[in-house]
Each structure stands twice: as C-alpha cells, then as structure tokens.
C-alpha cells in the first residue's frame, strides 16, 4: 500500500545548522494497517509524515502509494490519496468559513473545485448525520463559523472532514497534543472508529505511551532518522507502557 524506500532528508543543508532528520529510512505499510509512530523529539517522526504528505521532498529515496511513485508530487497533488489531521487543531479547518463550507471543501478533496454551488439540502443532511457521531451538538450549527469553536471541536471536525472524500491513507501528526485529556481521548476513539469502519491505512505520530500501546495495529519506533523497533499487532498487544518507556532510555 505505502512503500517508503531509503528515505533521506536533511534540513538547512550546507549551513552550520544542518540536521539529518531521516537517514535511510525504509518502511512498508500494508492496506488497513493503523501504524503508531513513536520516538524522541528530533527522531524524524514528523519529517517522515511530512514526506509522505508531500509538504517537502526527500533528498534521496522514493515514496510509492499502491505502486505509484509519488515522490515528486506536490502536497496538493497527493491529496488524491492522502487525508491529513494536523498537530495544530486550528490548521485543519478554515476559521472564517462555516462548518458546512469546510465540509464542502473536504468532500472535494480528490476532485476539482468548479463554479458549482454544492451546498444543498441533501449535502447538509449528510454532514449533519456525520456530525452526530461526535456527540458535540454541532449537527444543528452547520452555519456557525468554525473560528467560534474550541480547539477540541475543531480537531474533531478535521478528523471527520478527512473521511468525507475517499482516501487511501490517513496521516495524523500528534492530533491530540494541543487538547485537554478528555477531548484527546475522544479524538483518539473517533479516529480508531473511522479507521476501522472505513478500513483505512493510517499513520499516527504520538508522544503518549498509553495511546501507543492501546491504539493501532502496529507500533514503529524511530531513532535518529531510522526505524529501530517495529512491532506487529501480535507482539504489540503484549507490550506494556513501562517497557515502552525503557526504549526511550537507551541511548
């Protein structure tokens, strides 16, 4: 489904601040896998996610989605395959647009944005239906500007918006980092639910060790830009939080 081969990425190349963020990183992810990415700060998790999304390009190596080489496709071209949820809860939605307008754009992620007006009653019904999953009471506030909602609510919207249009891969970069514990738990539950129900292939970056052991079907740990642990579902189930902590202690 997703093949990352020998990815290498420098930042600030040729300056005293040069950093090697990813160093010959190779990873294959099968369809339907829900991969949790862990690792210390600077281990390359976010870089890896951003390379998959096309925010920037690798110095070396290739990225294949279902056999198609997407290494040189720009982020807005890769949106055909990829949906994203960002660490910043404000980044995934447009504040000055209403909830329904945000969903309209999300529903067109893989399509052209033409001179049609797509927000009609049936679309509103559909969005309203989806929103009721969140149990936040947003289903009756379709015309509310998104900027008036809280970070948690906006992150929940981003998550739902990511599955409004067909997608092959869902990327979540610390989606709960900026949220309070309760909202965070809710976002994780919803994420797991949509990933399972729609049989999505997903990658989630987290610093929360409890999430790392209790969510997902596979656990991958990065260190200094390389994959150093890779636990499939069977082994992951037996993993304890304390054990996971100890991985971080080793130099």
């Amino acid at each position: 489904m997703l093949n990352l081969t020998h990815l290498k990425k420098h930042f600030n190349k040729g300056t005293p601040n040069e950093v090697l963020a990813l160093d010959d990183c190779t990873l294959t992810i099968e369809k339907g896998e829900f991969v949790l990415l862990v690792g210390s700060n600077g281990s390359g998790k976010s870089t890896l996610l951003n390379l998959v999304a096309g925010t920037y390009f690798p110095d070396e190596g290739n990225i294949f989605i279902e056999g198609t080489d997407v290494t040189r496709l720009k982020d807005y071209q890769r949106s055909k395959f990829i949906a994203r949820v960002f660490q910043d809860p404000m980044a995934g939605t447009a504040a000055d647009l209403s909830i329904i307008d945000n969903f309209r754009l999300a529903a067109l992620r893989t399509k052209r944005k033409t001179f049609k007006t797509g927000v009609n009653d049936s679309f509103k019904m559909k969005v309203s239906d989806r929103l009721s999953i969140l149990e936040l009471g947003l289903e009756n506030k379709l015309d509310t500007l998104v900027g008036k909602l809280s970070g948690g609510q906006r992150q929940a919207l981003t998550l739902l918006m990511s599955v409004m249009d067909e997608s092959k891969i869902l990327l979540l970069d610390e989606p709960t980092a900026a949220l309070d514990p309760k909202s965070a738990e809710k976002i994780m539950k919803i994420a797991e639910k949509v990933i399972q129900e729609l049989n999505l292939t997903a990658m989630l970056v987290t610093h929360n060790m409890h999430y790392a052991v209790s969510y997902g079907t596979r656990l991958v740990m990065l260190q200094q830009g390389q994959v150093i642990k890779d636990y499939p579902s069977v082994l992951k189930e037996k993993l304890l939080v304390t054990e996971l902590y100890s991985w971080f202690e080793r130099p």
């Binding site: 949906a83 980044a91 992620r109 944005k113 033409t114 007006t117």
Partner: protein
Amino acid sequence: MDFYLSAILLGLAYCGMGLGIYITLRIFNIPDITTDGSFTLGASVTAALLSQQYPIVTALLMSMIAGSLAGLATGIIHTRLKINPLLSGILVMTALYSVNLSIMGRSNIPLINTANLLQLTNWFQREQYNWLLLMAIVALGLWCLISWLLKTDFGLSMRATGNSETMIRALGVNTDGMKVIGLMIANALTALSGFLVCQFQQFADINMGIGIVIFGLGAVMMGESLLNALRIQSIPLRLAGVIAGCILFRIIIGAALTFGINPNWLKLVTAVIVLVVVGLPNIKRRAGN
C-alpha cells in the same frame, strides 16, 4: 445636491476597485498596492483606444485584460519569487507608471468627441441621472457576480486559501495558483473602475491612480465597521458593505471639500480618514481593557 450626486456617482464607479480590494485584502490578506497602477492602466488603455476611435466594448475588454495582466505580474512575483506581496505590488505599480505613459504617449488624454457610454444610455434628459443608473447597474452586476463567485466551490477554495493555507493544500488546492487568480480578478475589477472613471470624467491622467489604493482600503474597512456593528456575517451583505463604503467615503470627501478644505489637502484628508477607520477599533479595544 449636485455635489452629493456626483459623490455617489464616483463612489459607484469606484466600487469595482473596492470589490477587488475586498478580494485581495479580506480573502487573501494581501494589501495589493498594484491597484494604484492598474486603475490608471484601465483608464489609459480606455483613453488610448477611444481616442483612436475604437469601439467602447473593445476599450472595456482591453482595459480589464490589461488589469488582469498587472495582477498576474504581481501574483507571479509574489508566489514564484517568494517576494513579500506588499513589495511585489509596489514593484508592479512603479513599472506600470512607465507602461501607462507609453500607452497614452503623454501624461494626459482628454476625451472629447469620442465614443462614450452615455451614447448608449438615453434614459433621462439629465446626463447625471443617466450616469447614476448606468453606474448602479454596473455595481449591481458586479455585486451579483462576486457574491455568486464566492459561493461556488471555487470561491470557497479562494476563501480558504487566505484563511488556512495548510488545510486547503491538504484538500488539493494549489494555493499559489489561487492567489495569482485572485490578484488577476481584483486588478481586472480595478481596471474596470479606471475605465468607468475615465469615461465619466472624460479624460485620463497619468496621476489619477495615486493613492487610490488607500481610498479602496478605507472604503472596504469603512463598510466592514458598519457591518460589524450590525453583526452581519453573510458574504453578499459584506460585499454590499464594500459598495456602501465606497459611496460613503466619496460623500465624506465631497463634504470635506464643500466645507472649504483646500483640494491640495485632499490626500491628507483621505489618509486621516483611513487612519481613523483602521485605528479606532484598536483604541476602543484598549479602552475596553
């Protein structure tokens, strides 16, 4: 009375530019200084073509095309060369001064005995009323067009581009391309205003665009403070607010002139009015804290 009538007339003539500035400033967060140049560009293309006996439709189309090319230049400088949009606008505006001079061949073209929009509009005996109806029709048409555009899927992507670039790129929109298109639309609208004002005043002058962007910014913000006071969010009403702002601003300037302010001070008055409109909310906020 006549004074206010011509203030309203000019306000309506400027509303194309006002709507253009709304698009660049409020949708893309770009204060587009190109406006000063593309306004004059619209007028000089019109004057040059009409004085050579080209039909009015040609002048209208060519001035709008020229305006959109000016926007294209600013857009490409900003998105491709990654130059600050303010600076990109200033560069293009400066370059346009020479372009406008060479289009006109001199600094001023009077339009006497040339084709004029008034020849198409024999509705009333009084010339002023014909102009009023004509400008009102144009303003209404532009209002409908932009209101519709911003409601379409394309328009939603435009609005999201200025709002959350990360989000809309992840949703498959080329934000650089979007900004270029936005600047092209805005400057075509500004050139349309140049076309109208040139027709109305029956001349084009190389300096007619100086400071016009400040007028536009002021008109947009004036309309906005009006709507914010009424807590209105809807886009069509906000656009109507821009048109109201253009008229209101012209009336204020007109009133200032009737109170005997020396016309030499006009730009200063304009700048002070805009400063008040921009600064007042901040002063209020501070007082509130």
